[in-house]
């Protein structure tokens, strides 16, 4: 097997691994149970897409895809931050309202 051939196979395989990774992460998104769990899984997507871009750029020999990765690396965390802040504030708010927060309230958000 040539190096190039190996590379193609490895890259394709990598792509599949990454996509499986996404699917697995999605399981956590779907399952939850808490908001934080879902957010962690969504946060995971950032690195997954960056990796996807990297692998795909190799496969296609098209470095411009790296531009997507760089943007995502820089600002992708913001969604996580916003959602985390939401979770925190939501909690504080309901606590301020002195509501009895039952287990699972966060799930039913």
């Amino acid at each position: 097997m040539t190096g190039a051939g190996f590379l193609q196979i490895a890259a394709q395989l990598s792509l599949i691994l990454i996509l499986i990774g996404m699917a697995v992460a999605f399981v956590r998104i779907a399952k939850g149970p808490s908001l934080a769990d879902r957010v962690v899984a969504l946060d995971m997507m950032t690195v997954t897409i960056i990796s996807f871009c990297g692998v795909y750029a190799v496969i296609m020999d098209e470095p411009s895809l790296l531009d997507v990765a760089i943007v995502l690396a820089l600002v992708g965390f913001l969604a996580t931050v916003a959602l985390a802040r939401y979770a925190e504030r939501r909690f504080e708010r309901s606590e301020r309202q002195q509501q009895e927060l039952k287990d699972g309230e966060m799930e039913n958000d």
């Binding site: 996404m22 998104i29 997507m45 897409i49 997507v68």
Partner: protein
């Protein structure tokens, strides 16, 4: 007749024209510009038309044309022949006197100026109707008379009855008007010209393709305007208007517009069996019905209203014929009726003004206090009764002669006899009874009317007498030219004579007198009988209210079905329309079947697709907002992956950034927003699901068809070639955005800006406004 009309009558009789009583001041100055000015102009117009009498009598019609909308064959073309001249003279002559009368009658009324304006405008419109040659121009004037009379009938607008009756008159005549419009257009289109004189000259339309339709449409207009049974009920109700209006609109002119129309279109439309039967029957029934109703009334104004109806019926009945006698009868009767009816209306107005009532039972013995009024009434009443030597007598004679000549004489003659006899009786009630015998218990002490109000009745009454005394001149200058115009060909003439010898018509006249006198004597008893019959008979006027009521309820019901106020129902309908439309079109227009080409797709494609689908399902199924948001994020990521994989990094970056911002904004907003299903858990809905799936399937179907087509890459190739060499940019997408299609981008940033300003308005502005209020 109607319960509600009876109520109406009582109401009117008790406190005649309430606003009048409130506002008008008999001592107020009446020589205002509006009053004197309008009468003067109208009188001048009368003189203007008067000078054409010899010309027209000599058989030379005059035509004026002012181009209006040449590209639509609509011109302000006027046609002055015997028919239009007679009408024009009546309109301007009676108009001038009525306007003068009104100036005094309504002196001091706060809205008198408007009244004068409306009346004047009405006069001009009516003049337009009778002069216009172009059918569309005629229609324009026709509708203007409808409109101005609406304003006039509703003059006492504070009174709900007045408003109701004005609306009734408007809607009924407008209904006919619209039919008429269709008829005119059809006539114009089928004849190739909109000039009535040309259509008439070209000969009869009978037998042509659209004749029947045209006839029905024109008759609909004529019958509603001229209040033929069963469209009659608006006319007595229209008596809510001030008396000068009634005198003018509802006796002399507007209601005759329908008759005029039948006369004008006579050459083109008459002669068919349909024409003869319809006009005879409608006219006769109207005439007889109206005569009885006239007798039934106690309010003199109502009585007159019904006699007007009777006259209209009679005229229509005679226009059914095509013989010289029938037409001469119609024209003579038309002339005499206009004169005496206007006179009588004005007289009633004077009585009303002076005594405060119009109740036939109360009135009596006014001759002493109001001698001139009594004189004028007498002259008019005699004309109405058809006593020689008044023109009314001649009219009646000719009418009988005409009736005997008509196809349906067996039907027409008895009907005419009944009508004329009743008319005789009514003339006694209106013109004789109030002035003679014992004086009743009146609201005010009677006094003679002022001269501006007396002028009209006196002059009009005198005309009735004068014309009767000079039948030859009247016939030569007025009646025969009109008859010629209606016949569409020169008539032999010579039928209008005071003395035509001992003949059948004279015999019929004598029978009429006898019968009429008998009825007059028994009229009280008869009136009570009629009232009992009326109470049992169907009430068209009340049906009108029922109908309007039903219509409003129907509207509300219908609208409530559609405009439910519930967004999801609107949304359902919108999507359903989309689905049904697309589906039907797909199937019936042969767009083709689905060709699903999934070859050559790797795991990547399927993986991304599944990710999107999974995210979608999550959004769909979850009852948690944040889970839905995360699901949306997943979908967004999946879509971005497609963009990455299929060569669109710019789009992918934008998609990801926008997705990010959506999450940020929603995370901010959701803090203060309700849970998805709090309190009102919505069950999953089967119809919604079916519709949703249908829309989804159809979208896919259409897109599959589209991508199955060959693709024209012209634009793309140009952009690829020109991007660097002509637009000096290497990122073709960006070059398209900022150079090839700048305007799109400009509009787009405007959207972003406006959205931001709009959100600012919503979130900050309302808060600020609220705080300011506190």
């Amino acid at each position: 007749m109607s319960r509600s009309l009876a109520h109406e009558t009582a109401h009117l009789t008790r406190s005649p024209t309430p606003t009048m009583a409130e506002h008008s001041d008999p001592n107020a100055p009446w020589k205002t510009l509006s009053g004197i000015g309008t009468s003067a102009i109208t009188a001048a117009l009368f003189l203007f038309f008067l000078q054409y009498v010899p010309t027209i009598a000599a058989g030379e019609p005059v035509r004026w044309v002012i181009p209006w909308i040449p590209s639509l064959d609509v011109n302000l073309s006027f046609w002055l022949d015997g028919l239009s001249l007679m009408f024009a003279l009546l309109i301007t002559g009676i108009g001038a006197m009525v306007m003068l009368y009104a100036a005094k009658y309504l002196a001091g009324h706060p809205q008198y100026d408007r009244f004068a304006l409306y009346l004047f405008a009405f006069m001009l419109s009516m003049l337009g109707v009778v002069l216009a040659d172009n059918l569309i121009a005629l229609f324009v004037f026709w509708e203007l008379t409808t409109f101005t009379s609406y304003l006039l009938i509703g003059f006492s607008h504070a009174d709900p009855k007045s408003r109701r009756n004005a609306l009734q008159a408007l809607l009924l005549t407008a209904t006919g008007g619209l039919a008429l419009l269709a008829g005119f257009i059809l006539m114009g289109v089928s004849q190739g010209t909109f000039e009535m004189s040309q259509i008439n000259a070209a000969g009869s339309l009978v037998g042509q393709e659209f004749y029947t339709l045209i006839l029905f449409l024109v008759l609909a207009g004529a019958f509603t305007k001229s209040a033929q049974v069963p469209f009659h009920f608006w006319l007595p109700n229209a008596m809510a208007a001030p008396t000068p209006v009634s005198a003018y609109l509802h006796s002399a002119t507007m209601v005759k517009a329908g008759v005029y129309l039948l006369a004008r279109t006579h050459p083109a439309l008459s002669g068919s069996d349909l024409w003869i039967w319809i006009l005879s029957i409608f006219g006769a029934v109207t005439a007889v019905f109206a005569s009885f109703m006239a007798l039934r009334q106690t309010d003199l104004k109502q009585t007159l209203a019904y006699t007007t109806l009777m006259a209209l019926g009679t005229l229509v009945m005679f226009l059914a014929g095509s013989t010289g006698y029938a037409i001469t009868a119609a024209m003579t009767f038309l002339l005499v009726h206009s004169l005496y009816k206007a006179g009588l209306f004005l007289t009633i107005g004077i009585i009303d003004h002076a005594t405060g009532t119009r109740d036939a039972n109360l009135l009596g013995g006014l001759k002493k206090a109001m001698p001139i009024t009594a004189m004028a009434a007498a002259v008019a009443g005699l004309a109405m009764a058809g006593i020689p030597p008044f023109l009314g007598f001649i009219a009646k004679e000719v009418a009988y002669a005409g009736a005997l000549e008509m196809h349906l004489w067996l039907f027409v003659v008895p009907m005419a006899l009944i009508a004329f006899a009743l008319m005789f009786a009514v003339a006694g009630i209106v013109a004789y009874k109030p002035f003679y015998g014992p004086q009743g218990d009146l609201p005010h002490e009677p006094h003679e009317g002022p001269w501006p109000m007396l002028l009209g009745p006196v002059v009009l009454g005198s005309c009735g007498l004068l014309f009767g005394l000079m039948p030859g001149l009247t016939a030569y200058y007025l009646i025969e030219p009109a008859v010629n115009a209606v016949m569409g060909a020169p008539d032999t003439g010579g039928r209008v004579k005071l003395w035509a010898g001992f003949n059948l018509p004279l015999l019929l006249s004598l029978i009429t007198f006898a019968l009429g006198f008998l009825i007059y004597l028994k009229h009280q008893a008869l009136r009570e009988r009629l009232a009992r019959i009326e109470a049992k008979s169907p009430d068209l006027d009340a049906s009108w209210d029922v109908f309007l009521d039903w219509f409003v309820r129907f509207s509300k019901g219908q609208t409530g079905l559609i405009q439910t106020g519930v967004l999801r129902q609107y949304m359902f309908a919108t999507f359903a329309v989309f689905a049904v439309t697309v589906l039907i079109t797909l199937i019936t227009r042969g767009a083709g079947g689905v060709n699903l080409n999934l070859a050559g797709l790797g795991l990547m494609e399927w993986g991304i697709s599944l990710l999107i689908a999974a995210g979608t399902v999550l959004v769909l199924l979850t009852s948690s907002r944040i889970t839905a948001l995360v699901g949306l994020g997943t979908v967004g990521i999946g879509v971005a992956l497609i963009f990455i994989a299929y060569s669109a990094p710019d789009v992918a970056i934008t998609q990801l950034l926008v997705e990010l911002l959506v999450v940020v904004l929603l995370a901010l907003a959701l803090l203060k927003m309700p849970y998805l299903d709090k309190g009102n858990v919505q069950k999953h809905s089967f119809p919604n699901a079916v519709l949703a799936i249908a829309v989804g399937v159809l979208t896919t179907w259409v897109l599959l068809l589209v991508v199955d087509q060959p693709f024209d890459r012209r634009l793309t190739e140009f952009f690829e070639a020109a991007s660097w060499t002509q637009a000096f940019g290497r990122n073709i997408v960006n070059v398209i955005l900022v150079d090839f299609r700048t305007l799109d981008t400009f509009g787009e940033i405007a959207v972003v800006l406006i959205a931001a300003l709009g959100a600012f308005v919503l979130l900050k502005g309302m808060r600020a406004a609220k705080e300011e209020k506190k």
